[in-house]
Symmetry: C2
Subunit: 232 residues, 2 copies
């Protein structure tokens, strides 16, 4: 095992044993290097990897904000990894879209009326009604889908769904340039979001799942990215 992997293993054990918890701080670089008898370079490499995994945020400055803190941001980290594998052409964009449909349909079917995430989803739709800027609209759109996924109560599905979106967000931005008429698309997306949320709030999971699947597939299809089953 290489020395930076020793450091990773030690930190994982601290987390598993509960000696290091969310919001807690890693020991300083020098302390870890001395304790594990490795170079400070190896410690820094391990911390960089944990940052890329969304497990820690590296400290800046001094005082109470100093130090490397344990965080929980798997979605963005998984998204970066998937994005790189999309870049190598190992993971086709169509498979990413199909997996999004699978996870979000499941979440829409599973979500139950009355959970706080659905109130947040409704607020986001109100803000989207008055949002004129395309990028700001798409950012709110992304948050709406995350809120819907969270309403299903499975943290792994939420993280994976966010990661899939992150993996192809560059495409989503470029895709809007392919759209023949943004104001028409935007009106359609608003209406579809309202219908999805209404179905979830009526506890009509089957309808919600079908609507969210059609919504995601429709957007990518209009923008020229086909699913496996509707190549175009």
């Amino acid at each position: 095992m290489r020395t930076h992997e020793l450091v990773l293993q030690w930190i994982e054990k601290q987390l598993s044993d509960g000696d290091l918890t969310l919001g807690g701080r890693l020991p300083g670089e020098r302390t870890m290097a001395e304790q594990l008898q490795v170079s400070r370079t190896s410690v820094r490499e391990a911390v960089r990897i944990l940052e890329a995994m969304g497990v820690v945020r590296a400290g800046v400055g001094s005082g109470k904000d100093a130090g490397t803190v344990v965080i929980a941001e798997p979605g963005s980290a998984l998204g970066s990894t998937l994005r790189l594998h999309v870049a190598t052409r190992h993971l086709p964009v169509a498979d990413i879209v199909e997996t999004r449909v699978l996870l979000e349909s499941w979440a829409a079917e599973r979500a139950t009326a009355g959970v706080p995430a659905l109130g947040e989803a409704a607020d986001l739709l109100d803000r989207m009604d008055s949002e004129q800027d395309i990028d700001a609209f798409l950012a709110l759109d992304a948050r709406f889908h995350v809120a819907l996924a969270e309403a299903a109560g499975n943290a792994v599905v939420s993280a994976m769904m966010a990661s899939l979106r992150g993996a192809i967000e560059n495409y989503a931005g470029e895709l809007t340039e392919n759209l023949p008429d943004w104001s028409a698309t935007c009106a359609r997306l608003r209406a579809e979001h309202r219908a999805i949320l209404a179905a979830v709030n009526n506890n009509d999971g089957g309808t919600a799942a079908a609507l969210v699947a059609a919504h995601i597939q429709g957007f990518y299809k209009e923008a020229g990215v086909g699913s496996n089953h509707a190549p175009d």
Copy 2:
């Protein structure tokens, strides 16, 4: 942006543009450092992160095997990330199990008879029939599930399914110690695997999906890990 992130961004662009492809080699550490005007330490940190993401394998030795090669191993990389977030208690084991059921049911329903992965799955079951060692049996078991997932033809679902299994493989090993009677469990697992594969080969996707869901839930339940919907 920090300097190692500049290196990551540059490599991602090389991949996206097709200037660097699967099986290709990264420029040497010194070359990249000079070209991007960053320290060799920053280059090495970026390469470590890409290794952890399953995007490259760092070179050892010299000659034709030297250099850092572009690979495609998202499953193990995603699994390491998920495992660390399970360690921080951010991702509950029950949510991992539930997501496995979701992805593998979908794959079993989608798989079509006649694809090569199903032939491999059948061979693995034959080998499991004569395998006496528990760890070797579980390793073949894992490969059987991966082959089933691959039969559905979605590389993202396959990678995520493999990652979920990797995230809790430590548990799976410990879980077998909780089982009251391994030989009874093992006989049951063998019979269930045969029934799942038979349903897939009959293109009876509904049955295959139901069987694989019951199979996964049954194993974790017997070993004392509940799903969200059957806490125990």
